[in-house]
């Protein structure tokens, strides 16, 4: 694999992992966050500093980076999740920017606005693809468990979710932390691929991009979100000259999708429901059919 191909594959995996997290948050819990770029930054900086300054191995720095991102989301969520939809969105936007600015101010630790360089190079395409596969399987399992069902209950009808005994505050927080852990994981991969990170890489634009990706792919569809993130990462690579107009195209795409297919490309359906024959059935499904 050429370096360039490796790079593109890694970028796709980084985006897809972060988008899988946003998909759980936005597609399944109907919470919008513009702060996930900040959580990616926390993952990236934590792992970069741990490996470079303290010589920690990736096997340790990655879980710690993810945990720090999750812990930050837990704190922010505790403070803000009582707010209704739009207000929550605004506060995540604010906190995301806060994290970025804090990284700029803590220049002794982070190198400030000029960035943090000479991060050990650990990420290759195999690691990235492997992690993407594991994180997708985990996300799918999570969604098809009581936790995921509670998220969907909140998305569908919050009052009714409470009326059947779902602690909506607790599960919103859980979904938010889950998406932050995924953003943190993407950040770790990203830092050890690029070997240089700067606070402005993790700005509002990044967070908005992931949310847009999930909306285009289809709310409530994990595979839809991932496919859309692959396409949206590849497009600027293919049309190099148009890369600058990426956000313009995203904006137009969202308007078109909302007008033509309000549920996104694959709203509420997974890939497996389009091509059932291609997907090996789970044991419980087979037992079901045997009856």
């Amino acid at each position: 694999m050429s370096d360039y191909t490796q790079g593109v594959v890694i970028l796709i995996c980084v985006n897809a992992i972060a988008v899988a997290g946003v998909s759980v948050l936005t597609g399944f819990t109907r919470l919008f966050s513009f702060g996930n770029g900040g959580f990616m930054a926390i993952g990236a900086y934590t792992s970069a500093i741990l490996t470079k300054v303290y010589g920690a191995p990736l096997a340790l720095s990655m879980p710690l980076g993810m945990a720090c991102a999750g812990a930050a989301a837990w704190l922010i969520g505790k403070l803000t999740l009582r707010l209704k939809g739009d207000y929550f969105l605004i506060t995540t936007l604010g906190f995301g920017e806060c994290i970025r600015v804090a990284l700029e101010y803590a220049y002794k630790l982070t190198g400030g606005p000029r960035g943090y360089s000479n991060i050990p190079h650990y990420t290759n395409a195999y690691l990235a693809v492997g992690l993407l596969i594991v994180s997708l399987i985990v996300a799918r399992n999570f969604i098809q468990s009581k936790y995921g069902w509670h998220f969907m209950a909140i998305r569908e009808q919050e009052v009714a979710a409470e009326a059947v005994g779902v602690d909506t505050a607790k599960y919103k927080l859980m979904s938010f932390v889950f998406s932050a852990v995924y953003a943190g994981c993407a950040g770790v991969l990203f830092a050890h691929y690029l070997r240089f990170i700067a606070p402005n890489m993790f700005n509002l634009e990044k967070s908005a991009e992931w949310t847009i990706t999930v909306v285009i792919g289809g709310l409530g569809s994990l595979s839809g979100s991932v496919i859309s993130s692959v396409i949206l990462t590849l497009l600027p690579e293919v049309f190099r000259g148009l890369a600058e107009y990426r956000m313009l195209v995203y904006g137009a795409a969202v308007v078109l999708i909302i007008m033509l297919r309000p549920n996104g490309l694959m709203g509420y359906r997974e890939l497996s429901s389009f091509f059932p024959a291609l997907f090996r059935k789970s044991r419980s499904d087979r037992e079901e059919e045997a009856r």
Binding site: K146, W149, A153, E156, V159, E162, A163, V164
Partner: protein
């Protein structure tokens, strides 16, 4: 028989509007209590206070001897109170079966690690939950349509699904908010039999709001009439209520 629900001195105001004033009610275990009255009398407000959606200015709601005021709705539901809504609130994009499975989450005894890997108790528990949800769907007559999107079921079946979902939390007290709304006479008769059946089968206490007088008469063993947030009449005998001049004036109308 013991007391399951005791509401005393309940007042609920929205700004200057007193939706419910000095309301009290005692429910015996196993009984069916009907709450009737004109639109805007405050009936649904009482349900919303009992289930924790509203916090009253004063008064107390005791369920099995424990105070409910100040507790969150999910907590009250888990304590054993199920409810349906006047304007149906299902999980519309999920299947009928999933609607019921979600409500049966108290049976889901597996941890986070098992949820993330689908190992351990996960498979067994989920199959058991699905079985239980299917039984409930069969009881409400929806077993053939478990895969359908809840939001696209016909209105009558949505009402039944909402009841199945409320039963999935294994309640001891069930609040039904206008279960017969929009039903014709034949359907209401079927509903009466159905409610009798689930009450017996799950040994439920039922507290219901209803406008169909025949449904109320045949099901309830006590009736409260509410008007402008105040109790207008209460009796275990429907005939007595029908003869009460203030009830006739406020609600039933002269024949």
């Amino acid at each position: 028989m013991s007391r399951i629900l005791g509401i005393s001195n309940l007042t609920m105001a929205f700004g200057g509007v007193r939706a419910v004033q000095q309301f009290d009610l005692l429910l015996e275990e196993g009984g069916v209590h009907g709450l009737i009255g004109p639109n805007g009398a405050g009936k649904t407000t009482i349900f919303n206070v009992v289930t924790g959606i509203y916090r009253p200015q004063s008064g107390s709601v005791l369920f099995e001897g424990r105070e409910l005021v100040g507790r969150r709705p999910f907590d009250i539901a888990n304590a054993g109170i199920g409810r349906t809504f006047q304007n149906i609130r299902l999980f519309p994009n999920l299947s009928a079966l999933e609607n019921v499975i979600i409500a049966g989450h108290k049976d889901a005894s597996y941890g986070m690690l098992e949820a993330l890997t689908h190992l351990g108790r996960y498979g067994r528990v989920v199959r058991a939950q699905r079985e239980h949800a299917r039984e409930l769907l069969a009881i409400v007559g929806l077993d053939a349509r478990e895969k359908e999107r809840a939001g696209s079921l016909p209105y009558g079946l949505q009402r039944r699904l909402e009841i199945a979902r409320a039963l999935a939390i294994r309640p001891r007290l069930l609040l039904l908010d206008e279960p017969a709304a929009g039903m014709n006479e034949e359907e209401s008769v079927a509903l009466v039999n159905f409610i009798r059946e689930i009450r017996r089968r799950f040994s439920l206490t039922i507290f219901m709001i209803e406008h169909h007088m025949d449904v109320v008469t045949s099901l309830c063993d006590e009736i409260t009439v509410l008007n402008f947030g105040k109790i207008l009449a209460r009796s275990s005998c429907m005939e007595e209520i029908k003869k009460n001049p203030s009830v006739v004036e406020a609600y039933l109308g002269k024949e």
